[in-house]
């Protein structure tokens, strides 16, 4: 009997509402004191096509999925036939016995428990298709021998607003699903979930919501965005919270407008944000440079998906690193941050807002579909640790005293005090042209050099403590795995799998490409006898970037660019093969 470690997969046609079962199960597991990882796989379609959602629950923090599932809820034949082989020994297939015929659920795996439940019939009797998900939940809860009271409580919270009748109906459907399983399939299932009492208040959150929360905590006041998968949920979340937090959220006419809104808003003095994916980021390039030369702080999220062009809109990739590093003509400083999970997403968002204000330049947050949309439990965030630092933004009182104010003054640090329109004694033009210290257009050679150098110098003001890579695994090992951004999750899980076999390596997760912790990274590589880099693109972009910055070429490269995230077992096998052999 396995306790409190279960992986569920739900599959069906896009638009069939299956996502709800996955999310409800994830929430219930969180409420039961377990850690959760949920991820989805869906095509770029609104109706039809094949959709799955996978949820793993376990007492330890989960960074990515591992292979194998325990319960498969199949809404259609395709789900059964494509996924039943993923079931672990003795796993269960729950299907709608009213809709799927005997031959649809014919399996070559006699160990799999087939559990037919008249899901649509139960739903129709209760009043309609919308209850389908609850019937499936009931069946699953009975299988896992879970007490329904906890779930009842969730139903009350979720549907309380809609009235007692709706709450009662939902509960009734859950019971009908559960009763059917208890009566017809009484044999014990190999896995039980027993709620754990814990004081830890963790959060169930996806990467995009974590970025949004980080931005709100950092004091964002204006969001301008044009929808594009997988970044659209940033727009939706922000719009839903706009009035509550006094954030102006604008769905602009296009991404060019969005980025130019940021230039205007940043200049006017508010913290501002946009989110997009590669296509939209391409359109933002010109204005990104405007923010660079005019020294305007702002934050741009690029949730990467497979490119080039429209690519694979709903699949993940890490192929925009080089693009983010060089986007827009000319040379200007930028921050490029690559959070590896939702927890990092929150804190790095707070940090990049502060960095952008400190060095008065745009910050790009590179996420990808996998982290953006995967929902995980993360340890509770200590709100009191959020710090807001606006750098050399001058107060009205400071400006009242100002004389001969030069917005782009050539200071030793490169950072010039910044004033905003509305303040006295600070009148200047914020210009996309090269300019002198006052902001006036200048094409003089010496001033050009001085302004380029000044802007370049600014980056050194960022504390190196903020952009160091994170190290995991065995710190004494001379075998090194390197990755960045969303590859973190699968590597962290791979380390667990290796540990179970008594094996270990050192792992370096690179969190920032700009500023780049070249010294630390170089030292770690030099210390390692063997090293391997894992990244989700075909060129090995980070590997090449590291070589450019440190002169060191990581000998082993493992890539994936099929749009699918790395799997833990796959990564563990590569580490064994290339480092541990």
């Amino acid at each position: 009997m396995r306790i409190n470690d279960v992986t569920l997969k739900v599959g069906g046609e896009a638009g069939s509402g299956i996502l709800t079962v996955g999310h409800m199960f994830a929430k219930l597991m969180q409420k039961s004191g377990l850690q959760v990882f949920l991820t989805n796989d869906y095509p770029s379609l609104i109706k039809g096509g094949h959709n799955t959602i996978t949820v793993r629950a376990n007492p330890q923090r989960i960074y990515a999925l591992t292979a194998g599932i325990d319960i498969l809820i199949a809404l259609d034949k395709k789900t059964v036939q494509e996924h039943y082989r993923e079931l672990r020994e003795g796993g269960a297939l729950i299907y709608d016995s009213g809709k799927l015929k005997e031959e649809d659920v014919k399996l070559e795996r006699p160990d799999v428990r087939k559990i037919g439940v008249p899901l649509s019939k139960i739903a129709t009797e209760a009043g309609g298709d919308i209850f389908f998900n609850q019937a499936a939940m009931g069946a699953m809860l009975a299988l896992l021998k879970m007490d329904l009271a906890k779930y009842d409580h969730m139903i009350e919270k979720a549907f309380g607003r809609k009235g007692a009748d709706i709450v009662a109906k939902n509960k009734q459907v859950v019971r009908a699903g559960a009763d059917h399983v208890r009566t017809n399939y009484p044999d014990p299932f190999g896995i039980n979930v027993n709620p754990v009492q814990t004081d830890a208040r963790n959060l169930l959150i996806n990467g995009n919501d974590a970025l949004c929360s980080g931005a709100v905590a950092a004091g964002v006041h204006l969001v301008a965005e044009y929808p594009m998968s997988p970044s659209s949920s940033v727009l939706h979340w922000m719009a839903a919270h706009a009035v509550k937090y006094n954030i102006v959220v604008k769905h602009t006419e296009d991404e060019i407008a969005a980025m130019n809104w940021l230039c205007g808003a940043g200049f006017a003095g508010v913290r501002c944000l946009t989110a997009t994916s590669g296509g939209g980021f391409s359109l933002m390039n010109e204005a990104l440079g405007n923010a660079g030369i005019a020294e305007i702080p702002c934050v741009i999220i690029n949730d990467m998906r497979c490119g080039p062009s429209t690519g694979l809109p709903t699949y993940t990739e890490q192929a925009d690193l080089r693009f983010a590093l060089h986007a827009s003509q000319g040379e200007f400083p930028r921050i490029v941050a690559m959070p590896g999970d939702a927890q990092e997403a929150f804190w790095m968002m707070v940090d990049v807002f502060n960095m952008a204000d400190l060095v008065q330049t745009p910050a790009i947050v590179l996420m990808d579909k996998y982290v953006a949309e995967s929902v995980t439990t993360i340890p509770s965030i200590k709100a009191e640790q959020v710090r807001i630092d606006r750098g050399l933004l001058q107060t009205d009182a400071q400006m009242a005293e100002a004389a001969n104010f030069k917005r782009h003054a050539l200071t030793p640090s490169g950072i010039s005090p910044r004033c905003i329109p509305g303040q006295k004694n600070g009148i200047h033009v914020c210009s996309s042209y090269e300019h002198d210290e006052t902001g006036y257009t200048s094409e003089e050679a010496s001033m050009r050099i001085a302004q380029i150098d000044k802007r370049e110098r600014k980056m050194r003001a960022i504390s190196p403590l903020l952009y160091q890579p994170a190290f995991f695994g065995d710190q004494s090992s001379d075998l090194l795995v390197v990755s960045w951004g969303s590859s973190k999750g699968p590597v962290m899980e791979a380390l667990k799998l290796l540990a179970a076999k008594g094996k270990s390596v050192r792992y370096m997760h690179i969190r920032y490409a700009c500023p780049f912790a070249a010294d630390t990274i170089s030292a770690a590589l030099k210390r390692a006898k063997k090293s391997l880099i894992i990244e989700g693109n075909s060129e090995g972009q980070m590997r090449n970037f590291i070589r450019e910055k440190t002169g060191l070429l990581i000998p082993e490269l493992y890539r994936r660019y099929d749009g699918r995230p790395f799997e833990a077992e796959e990564v563990a096998a590569v580490i064994e093969e290339r480092l541990l052999k």
């Binding site: 929360s213 102006v248 205007g264 200049f267």
Partner: protein
């Protein structure tokens, strides 16, 4: 009270060609700001790129000289970030009606409270004389040596039909009239677009001062009803023997800011950045 002298920027040499219609626009804008009583430090003049785009350097207010065709999004955001500011956007016809046309239409729809002044010289000035979206059919330029094949855009008709709430046309050859229009535009609550017939003496030898002096007439001296949309559209179509100047259309509608409760507590830029992060995160517990 702000004076013309305070708005002068003597340190910066004006770089327009002698005789250019842009000079009158600059003077008219200063007069309008003085008449409307807008303080220089509470005013932002925004521009795109073009001869017109140089204007922010020649007036002593805050300025934002952004990208070619992209001044409207920047100006919109400046106003939304700090709606206590007076925002005036200036640009060229290529800027606003060519590369920036998408932003133009959507900005008309939005009715954010700022003023947009288009230096409409029917040519690309800064890039030395190519056709513009308002160039007349058949007009020969460097990029259309055989003559323009397309119909010119009609910015006034587009603005009226897209929902702009103050639509006017001025002429660089009539400074007092132009200054008055700009003052009205600045005082109008909502998005005000003023298209200015601005002779480019260097590259446009067709649409000259003489060309316009013969054709323009003032709407306020005719019996045009600027609140009548149909009449306004009819006036917008007039571009042959006679060209109307003045306010074509004016209507009072709620602004975008009015519909944004986030601004009730005052300009965004004045609001605290501190949020109750604990309560925010509770929704994920």
């Amino acid at each position: 009270m702000v004076t013309l002298a305070e708005l002068a920027e003597p340190k910066h040499t004006v770089t327009w060609c002698p005789g250019c219609g842009d000079f009158a626009i600059l003077v008219a804008l200063k007069q309008a700001l003085v008449k409307a009583g807008r303080e220089p430090h509470q005013t932002v003049v925004v521009s795109g790129i073009g001869c017109s785009g140089k204007l922010p350097h020649f007036i002593k207010t805050y300025g934002f000289e952004g990208l070619h065709g992209r001044s409207l999004p920047a100006a919109s955001a400046i106003k939304m970030a700090n709606h206590a500011l007076t925002v005036v956007d200036v640009g060229g016809d290529g800027d606003g009606y060519g590369i920036g046309m998408g932003h133009f239409i959507h900005t008309c729809r939005r009715n954010i409270d700022f003023t947009y002044i288009v230096h409409n010289n029917q040519i690309y000035g800064l890039t030395t004389g190519q056709t513009s979206p308002t160039s007349e059919k058949g007009f020969k330029t460097k990029s259309t040596p055989e003559g323009v094949l397309e119909e010119p855009v009609n910015p006034m008709a587009l603005a009226i039909s897209a929902g702009a709430t103050f639509v006017a046309r001025g002429f660089s050859g009539n400074l007092p009239h132009l200054a008055d229009l700009m003052c009205q535009g600045i005082q109008h609550k909502g998005f005000a677009i003023i298209d200015v017939l601005q002779p480019c003496v260097t590259f446009n030898k067709l649409n000259t001062y003489e060309y316009f002096v013969k054709k323009v007439y003032k709407l306020d001296e005719s019996n045009h009803d600027a609140s009548d949309k149909t009449a306004a559209l009819a006036k917008a179509e007039e571009w042959a023997e006679k060209i109307p100047i003045g306010v074509l259309y004016k209507v009072s509608k709620p602004t975008y800011e009015d519909g944004t409760p986030q601004l009730k507590e005052g300009p965004l830029v004045k609001q605290s950045l501190k949020r109750d992060v604990g309560a925010l995160l509770a929704e994920f517990e």
